[in-house]
Amino acid sequence: MGIAVQSLSKSFGDHQVLRDISFSINKGETTVLLGSSGAGKSTLLRMLNLLESPDQGTLNIANMEFTFHKGQKPSPSSASAKACQLRRKVGMVFQQYHLWPHMTVLANLMEAPVQQGISKAEARDKAIGLLERMGLPDKANAWPSSLSGGQQQRVAIARALMLSPEVLLFDEPTAALDPAITNQVVEIINELQASGITMVVVTHEVDFARKIASRVVYLENGEIVEEGTAERFTAPQTSAFKSYLQH
């Protein structure tokens, strides 16, 4: 099993961002979380990596279970150690890439694995292999600021892949990229899917979603309105999703 989420809820102050969210994702699937801005899809994605903690609910991911109860905060130290474990199995790619500008591309890739005890030589070999796979073999010693947006996003994907995650999360990976570059990301995601990694992608771009999804979850106002296989793109079951697809 890949990911199972049960009755997750989250509020920021008085504003409830997510209401009673439950879904499950099989291993190796590429699931798209679709919805307009403010639907709660990014918050939901960030919860899968515990960058946000739910107010209540259960989260099963990469064979680890986290339970949250209302009004009860998990003890910070144990939670963060376990959260740290989780994040080594669940990678994340951000909309704004968040590469570390003071480090070369190679150093960006090597930082996490070396800190986690992998030898420098091994991390370096792996980094060079991944850069080649991402079509950036000559950028190892480049500074991130000298790369284009698309190149930076590919470096960010390579950086997340350095830990060989079981699950890879993408938060609006193409929102800052032009359509031609978006297709490069599509190719990479489809190649990764062929390699068997479970992916969850947040986007509001329907075309991009169609090209990568094997499953789709459509959210509106913090609730799941429709979910199913990629066939839902051609045969939506709810009028809300149908009208969203026509935008």
């Binding site: 960058l51 989780l86 994340m92 590469l99 003071h102 480090m103 996490a112 480049a142 950086r159 997340a160």
Partner: protein, 239 residues
């Protein structure tokens, strides 16, 4: 001892005082700035108060207070008369003054590092401690360096204040030589030239540090790291 040797010794004293105050001051400045940014409000408030007091007092008063005040305080507490060495008292006073100003520069610099930088590290399972020293602090450095460099020059010249509590520094040496030779123009002039030389060298070093801290924005590739070897090296390919 010749005058040259005396002046050399006094210069070393001034530099030693300035550099040890810088080291201690930077350490305290990082602590102050983090305390002020702390989510634990009483700590943030207490630190802000200390910084406000230090910035509100004349430097010479802080020096006197630490030197004479600490001896008095120890006497009141233990009934013993223990004299604090002028060098140590001077270092503490100067580093407190430096840290009060530098902490404000650092606080601004910490806030200038985008939140996403730490988030990316957390998302990769990097520990908070490691993230602070490897991801956040180096980026803070770039933003803080111009301000810290300025405050270093101020600190360097503030060392002259500790001549008044008897540290045998460059100013005290110039004063003594001027008095004994009746040639104040010459000897204060020489002291001035030495201070100027130190600041000019400092500025040069600071410039280099600044361009190093900006190298990732001004060049496209790192020149300090060896180039990555391709899978097939040229010698093999042409052999």
């Amino acid at each position: 001892m010749g005058l040259t040797a005396l002046f050399a010794e006094a210069t070393v004293m001034t530099l030693g005082l300035a550099l040890s105050s810088l080291a201690l001051g930077l350490f305290m400045a990082i602590a102050f700035s983090l305390a002020e940014l702390s989510r634990f409000k009483p700590l943030a408030l207490a630190t802000s108060t200390v910084v406000a007091i230090l910035r509100g007092l004349p430097e010479i008063l802080v020096v006197f207070f630490i030197y004479f005040g600490s001896t008095h305080a120890i006497f009141l507490l233990t009934d013993e008369f223990i004299e604090v060495s002028p060098f140590i008292a001077g270092t503490i006073a100067l580093s407190l003054i430096y840290s009060a100003y530098a902490s404000q520069t650092l606080r601004g610099a910490f806030m200038a590092v985008p939140k996403g930088q730490a988030e990316a590290a957390v998302a990769l399972g990097i520990s908070r401690f490691h993230c602070f020293f490897r991801i956040i602090l180096p980026q803070t450095w770039r933003h803080a360096l111009p301000g810290l460099g300025n405050q270093w020059l101020v600190l360097l010249k503030d060392t002259a204040l500790v001549a008044l509590i008897g540290v045998h520094d460059l100013l005290l040496q110039a004063k003594m030589t001027a008095a004994s030779t009746y040639e104040p123009f010459t000897w204060y002039g020489i002291a001035a030239l030495i201070y100027l030389a130190i600041t000019l060298v400092s500025q040069n070093i600071l410039e280099r540090m600044k361009s190093r801290s900006n190298r990732h924005l001004t060049s496209s590739h790192s020149t300090t790291e060896p180039p990555v070897e391709k899978a097939v090296s040229h010698s093999e390919a042409t052999a």
